[in-house]
Subunit: 213 residues, 2 copies
């Protein structure tokens, strides 16, 4: 077991698609499609803005991706619906095994997230989980999988990268962390194919529990 574990937040500890129910309530029959389109565009905007060197906080990128996705799908969205959905992002559900698994964990632990503090801090606060550090890319103004993001965890935890285990459900994030030099656990809950980015995770697991065995 590594000396410290660093966790991705969205999709790894917190279920991003739990916004789906709220989407479905607003636009019956479109919840799943909107939720997936929104998530995909949100990530694309983080990569594109990083390459353009036009960083904007994750809260803005997430709102922008929502407005785009609604327009793409022909769904009318006003300020009230947008606010309701953005609020939902601040109270995402934990995956079922996360609370118990984290209680058993004896190592140092941190979150390393794309989320800007205005989204991430309330989310972590309401989760009941505790961490040695909650780190956001926001202070670097560049998104994952840029190597300087993973370096932030090394610096803040004062732990060499060889002693850090990185946990993500987002395969590209796991492989970005592997490329940087972490020991990497990919939580592949959905049985997705491995992304072809020139790297392999050290371990592929089905849930957080398995990492602690």
């Amino acid at each position: 077991m590594p000396h410290a574990l660093v966790f991705d937040a969205y999709g790894t500890l917190f279920n991003v698609h739990s916004v789906q129910a709220r989407c479905e309530a607003l636009w019956p029959g479109k919840g799943a499609l909107l939720s997936q389109t929104w998530r995909a565009r949100q990530l694309e905007y983080t990569w594109q803005r990083s390459l353009m060197r036009r960083y904007a906080p994750f809260s803005q990128v997430t709102g922008d991706a929502l407005v785009y996705s609604c327009e793409l799908l022909g769904l009318k969205i006003g300020e009230q619906e947008k606010q309701a959905l953005m609020d939902e992002y601040r109270k995402l559900a934990l995956y079922p095994e996360v609370s118990n698994a984290m209680k058993k964990l004896k190592t140092k632990r941190a979150i390393l997230s794309n989320g800007s503090p205005d989204m991430l801090d309330p989310l972590v606060a309401q989760s009941g989980l505790s961490f040695d550090a909650v780190l956001s890319v926001d202070e670097l103004k560049v998104y994952k999988p840029a190597p300087e993001v993973y370096q932030l965890a090394v610096d803040r935890l004062k732990t060499p990268k060889e002693e850090i285990g990185f946990v993500s459900s987002n395969c590209w994030d796991a492989l970005g962390a592997k490329s940087f030099g972490f020991t990497v656990y990919w939580i592949n809950r959905a049985g997705a194919p491995l992304d072809r980015l020139g790297f392999q995770p050290d371990r592929i697991v089905k849930s957080l529990d398995e990492i602690l065995l």
Copy 2:
């Protein structure tokens, strides 16, 4: 009219989804879905690898994205099918208006593409079009929309960016070029929503013809 026009290749001059027919012939009923999934993943890999600083040529990224997409969709692909589809990429169809529109064009013109020379050069050669320069990100080892890619056109055409018009059907590419400082024409053939990346194209047109009017 700007002093020089710089064109994106894939999706702008050449119809990427003309590979769809070949996909459909190989896996009946799945051509459209595979073609779209493949294109989306191809672009994601360019962004992710650029941020990871793990550039690989577009030919490799395109092949990797194909293999991933087939696995995702449960389609069995061997070396022969992969080669057939990669070959298709080297003989993509031009959009219908392109040949005539390019003949009317009086300015300097260049291609600025993500394509590596092994894919891009045969494609341009078979198109019957001629350019003052065919520029690939491959010499920079970073993909669009990084600003240094757009700078390459400035350097090679020896034309200040204020005098360059950039033409792309990929909205994120158009906005990356706008962020860099080009005058930008977004060819929005499909009536897609504008991407929310903090910039606006100078003109939105339905086809290449309209730019020359």
